[in-house]
């Protein structure tokens, strides 16, 4: 009996020991699922595993969910690197959930545009991609190409219009732009809400996630959706006739960032992962696969890829960014107002 017990204790200890070793050479990150995750693996995760011999555990979680998880795990973080696309890093850094990054430890930091690495010391990770928000539309079903944000309000489009809930980062930016062209601003979102209300009454739909947008385009005759440029490309790859048009009034940009989670013990490996994420190669790969705008000035793109993104210093400077701190400060109030507006 005792011998058996001893044996099991020893084997248990061995088991625990082996997991501890595995831990030291593995990273846990989040990714955004679907085509994004496929590209993420191809551009960063697999090359990283090959180069370092480490294993990367990927948890599929959108920014808002990922942020909720990181916040819940404050005392015992489970993620090493967390990716956000909705400005969550600003709040997370302010709450001390993220670790400041020393840019001397990132070999590629020097090549990033300034705006992409402005807040490293505060704990906000570098932006490695930019998503441009504009009009994603059905190129076959629409007789005339939409060019302006106000085209969304055309009555003939209402029943084919798909809006995205503002709990989604891109949905939020699209809504804020609609609000802006209706005469609102970040201190007053009522004009946008009124527009949304009348659009819904006229037959528009609200969806919560991007796969639902694809479903609407594929099966339910959706005509137009204010969303990200990369998504038009995703739809095209799925065999749907879709195009992207930047609205004349401006193009809101969403920064996708890779952040170092505080309180984990293999920060060096995590930094290596972030470094690889911002490299010119990884960004070219992302642009080729998904049409995201790179933030690394050394990124080389083929002409047909460059046509779909904001390429080069001048083009990138033309994007407009709604102040994420203001969005964060108002998020809960806005979501509340939005929920009331769309509730049936």
């Amino acid at each position: 009996m005792n011998a058996k017990l001893g044996l099991s204790v020893v084997s248990l200890a061995a088991l625990l020991g082996s997991t501890a070793i595995a831990q030291a050479n593995s990273l846990t990150i989040n990714s955004f699922g679907g085509a994004y995750e496929t590209a993420h693996r191809e551009c960063v995760i697999s090359p990283f595993e090959k180069e370092t011999g480490a294993t990367v555990n990927v948890v599929t979680a959108y920014s808002a969910d990922a942020f909720a998880q990181v916040r819940a795990q404050k005392d015992a973080p489970q993620f090493d690197v967390i990716h956000f696309s909705g400005g969550q890093e600003i709040v997370a850094a302010a709450e001390g959930l993220l670790s400041p990054i020393d840019d001397t430890k990132l070999t590629n930091a020097a090549d990033l545009y300034d705006f992409a690495k402005a807040k490293l010391a505060a704990g906000e990770g570098p932006a490695y991609s930019i998503a441009a928000i504009g009009l994603v539309y059905n190129t076959e079903a629409l007789a005339e190409k939409p060019t302006k944000w106000t085209d969304l309000l055309k009555p003939e489009l209402s029943e084919g219009l798909v809006l995205t809930d503002i709990s989604n980062g891109y949905g939020m930016l699209g809504f804020l732009m609609l609000n802006q062209v209706q005469g609102g601003d970040l201190t007053n979102i009522q004009p946008g809400l009124d527009a949304v209300k009348s659009l819904l009454d006229a037959g528009a739909l609200v969806v919560a996630t991007s796969p639902e947008i694809q479903q609407e385009f594929a099966q339910n005759g959706a005509l137009i959706a204010p969303y990200a440029s990369d998504y038009a490309f995703t739809l095209r790859n799925a065999g749907l006739p879709s195009g992207f048009q930047a609205g004349e009034e401006g193009t809101p940009a969403s920064f996708i960032t890779a952040n170092l989670v505080a309180g984990r013990d293999n920060a060096d490996l995590a930094l290596k992962f972030i470094d690889m994420t911002i490299s010119a190669d990884a960004q070219a790969c992302f642009a080729n696969a998904l049409r995201y705008t790179p933030t690394n000035s050394k990124t080389e793109l083929a002409p047909e890829v460059a046509a779909d993104v904001a390429y080069g210093e001048a083009a990138v400077a033309g994007l407009l960014r709604f102040d994420p701190t203001v969005i964060e400060a108002n998020r809960s109030a806005w979501v509340e107002q939005w929920n009331r507006t769309i509730a049936q």
Binding site: D165, S167, G203, Q215, N220, E336, R340, A343
Partner: protein
């Protein structure tokens, strides 16, 4: 070692698991729901209970759960009754047919309904072909869609609860009632229904609590425009992020379900619990 300590030791893993995985988080949730920036506060509850929008969400949750439970009972009872009457082979097939959907994930089944109920789905198509509805009619993102989906998800629970009780009812009781001159329906009403009541109540409770706290199906079929309480909690946690308010909503849901359970426990006196 006497019997008592032995029993206690045997029960210990279960008790520990419950404490860690259930009591502790629930306790944390309760604490979080009444903690404001400066100590104890009931503000989140006041905000919920004084707001027509949130009371509407609560009322919709209760209303839909009741409708779903009633429909499940109306379909489930005859189904279970038939299953006790047929031969063993057919009964086996019927049981398999009822249990089979439980082998697939709720999410997958819900996606199935999404395909069928959407604007170009088969059900709106058929209704359109018969000119019963307009061109843009869709069942998706309506309360009807939630009810249809939830009934399909919860029916097995109801049927199996009733079946468990009905199989133990002595068939001779019905025969006796028939010889006394009862019609079939009278027999069902005066003999079978009262005897199957414990199963019906248990099944209804299961259906009610599961649908009141369900999240995936209402969220996917109802969309973000039709909020139920579980989805509202989720939004408060992830997109607002307002955890004290989310906890308060969770406590309200929890207490609401508890209120439904207590009369049941009183009713059955622990006999069939």
């Amino acid at each position: 070692m006497n019997d008592r300590t032995e029993n206690l030791l045997l029960a210990l893993p279960g008790i520990l698991l419950l404490a860690l995985a259930f009591l502790f988080p629930i306790g944390q949730m309760l604490i979080l729901s009444v903690s404001g920036p400066d100590g104890f506060t009931l503000a989140p509850f006041a905000r919920f209970l004084s707001d027509p929008y949130y009371m509407g969400v609560l009322w919709r949750t209760v209303r839909l759960s009741l409708i779903i439970t009633i429909i499940c009972a109306v379909i489930g009872f005859p189904l279970a009754y038939i299953m006790t009457k047929v031969g063993p082979r057919l009964r086996l097939w019927l049981v398999i047919m009822i249990i089979l959907p439980l082998m697939t994930s709720v999410v997958i089944r819900t996606f199935g309904w999404m395909v069928m109920l959407s604007r170009s789905g088969i059900i709106p198509q058929i209704l359109r072909d018969f000119d019963l509805v307009g061109r843009n009619f869709a069942l998706m993102q309506t309360e009807t869609a939630i009810v249809i989906g939830m009934v399909q998800v919860l029916l097995p629970f109801m049927t199996l609860s009733i079946l468990g009780v009905l199989t133990r009812v002595d068939g001779r009781l019905e025969e006796a009632a028939r010889t006394m001159g009862c019609s079939f329906l009278q027999t069902v009403r005066t003999v079978v229904l009262p005897l199957s009541l414990p199963g019906l109540v248990a099944g209804s409770l299961l259906c009610f609590t599961l649908s009141a706290s369900s999240f995936v199906t209402p969220n996917l079929l109802g969309g973000s425009r039709i909020q139920v309480l579980a989805a509202s909690i989720y939004r408060s946690v992830t997109s607002a992020p307002d955890w004290p308010f989310a906890s308060a909503q969770a406590v309200i849901l929890f207490v609401g379900i508890l209120l439904v359970l207590i009369p049941y426990m009183k009713l059955t006196g622990g006999k069939n619990g």
